[in-house]
Symmetry: C2
Subunit: 200 residues, 2 copies
Amino acid sequence: MSAPIDFYFDFASPYGYIAAQTIDAVAAKHGRNVNWHAIVLDANFQSLERIRIPSSVMRSDYIRRDVERLAAFMDVPFNTPSSLGLHTEMAARLFHWFNDRDPEQGRKFAQAVYRAYFVDDRNIAQGEVLQDLCATQHISPDQLQALSNDSATRARLKAEIDLAEARGVFGSPFFIVEGERFWGNDRMPQLEHWLAHGPY
Amino acid sequence: MSAPIDFYFDFASPYGYIAAQTIDAVAAKHGRNVNWHAIVLDANFQSLERIRIPSSVMRSDYIRRDVERLAAFMDVPFNTPSSLGLHTEMAARLFHWFNDRDPEQGRKFAQAVYRAYFVDDRNIAQGEVLQDLCATQHISPDQLQALSNDSATRARLKAEIDLAEARGVFGSPFFIVEGERFWGNDRMPQLEHWLAHGPY
């Protein structure tokens, strides 16, 4: 099988949510796997190519409408959450904990977090909400508490973010395949062209 | 015929150049006309929704590659110019002078400016280059000189930019149809969906 696609996403990103609904199917169509990587863009993406869109912009009228329209266009369920730009570090740390053990479990958790935020308008920065989402993954409150205080999960996420930054990731969703970077859902047709026909 | 599409572009924007190669055909397919509007984004787009991408970003590795790849994907001739972020006010003022007299002449001039910049790597901020481009439009050096010093063409452009800003335009290319805003080439499929099926 050819090289996998690296898929970077932030749980605070509605565009990341929309990409998460389609990327596996797109990749499978071209015989590729996808490696999912939760990152936190606010954490340290201040250097390199500074295209990062500030959270104030994510609350702008244009972006609100753009996301709603994109979701309708892609036929993906979406409800604008009452609070945009939530703190996503804990969700990202839990994602890697699941994902390192079983990528399928990682995906399921990621989809549950995204659905909670962008469909059910739940506050995924809150411990009790994450607890609910973990419950379906057979994680007890005690285990979640332990993971939350675990310096290893914090270091794991930080290393992931550092690696993403070193690879030139600066937005969500972000795709890398064979060293080529694609930023945004709207580059999906170009990504598909790459997968189908090779570099251009 | 249904409402026209307003197409806003900056001559410094390679994405605007690429949009200029396709928008008329897309609109015609759906029985629409296009009104072309040259604007200068650096002039006063500091307020409202501040998504404006700074010129330093336009020189980033990612954007350079993104533009090249998009042009290849769209099968549009493109050569990265040696100088990005040129001053485009004079070209935009001349565009409106032509366009107000004859939209076809306006389009021809706009395409000539874009081609000079993004195919032939000419400096469209220079008077002699604009003179060359005007020559094919039957404008003499004396006429060009007069237009360059004309406060009316300056006021005309400023009003256009003020109007664009009031309508919520903040990037290039930017499309408005029936009050709905679409930013970027990558929203063209959504614009087409709107034209084909109405609001969604």
